[in-house]
Symmetry: C2
Amino acid sequence: MAKAGSGNSCGSRAEKVSLPDVAWAEELAKLTWALAHPARVRIVRLLLQRDSCLCGEIVEAMPLAQSTVSQHLKILKESGLVQGEIDGPRVCYCIHPKAMQRLKQLVAEL
Amino acid sequence: MAKAGSGNSCGSRAEKVSLPDVAWAEELAKLTWALAHPARVRIVRLLLQRDSCLCGEIVEAMPLAQSTVSQHLKILKESGLVQGEIDGPRVCYCIHPKAMQRLKQLVAEL
DNA sequence: TATGTATATCGTTAATCGACGATAAGCGTT
DNA sequence: AACGCTTATCGTCGATTAACGATATACATA
């Protein structure tokens, strides 16, 4: 740990700190949590690169069991970042553009 | 980015899917994981708004025990997003601008 | 040195995550 | 209806998280 020095940028003001918006924090936390695992980042990346992807293709691209990938997809769906569309016996996944845009906006506004 | 495929957005091409960069996914996952909890989002927000903040002020601003806040701060430090500087008997926390910029860049590039 | 303040760490507990294999459910085809 | 293929869910297990109170550590000052 650095030794502090005096004239640093740490203003030691005594004013009361106002809370950031709780709902805002929860929204961002929910979205970032969806990306808080390398496997989910890779899935999202895959979907963005390919625009859409059948579930089986995602499973093939990942070094994980099918059930594990399915779990990650469920988490991504719950976050809103990803949508799944039933296509016959298969499921086609794609990014939900609005949610992705919202995530980017919230992070950019940090 | 591949051909948009025929008609519907779900291209059912059979081509092999290439893996996204693993290291890249891990870097982004590590940074997003740091924000994957509302308390940590609020701490980061606080630090960005006030530029820097004494640990005690953060504790006061959060509805959590001091030890819990300290744990979240540790996680944020480990992610690189936040730095702590010892200032006498206190610790002054601030955002690490480069790490924050990196996070924004990675998310924006998604 | 002793004391008080500020922060970090420890130890515990309940809950959740992440992984897997096994199995169920949905759909198209025979 | 029965089968095969694809995907989701279940059950389990070990590891990790998040929370807290208690305690240790570091620093400034009396």
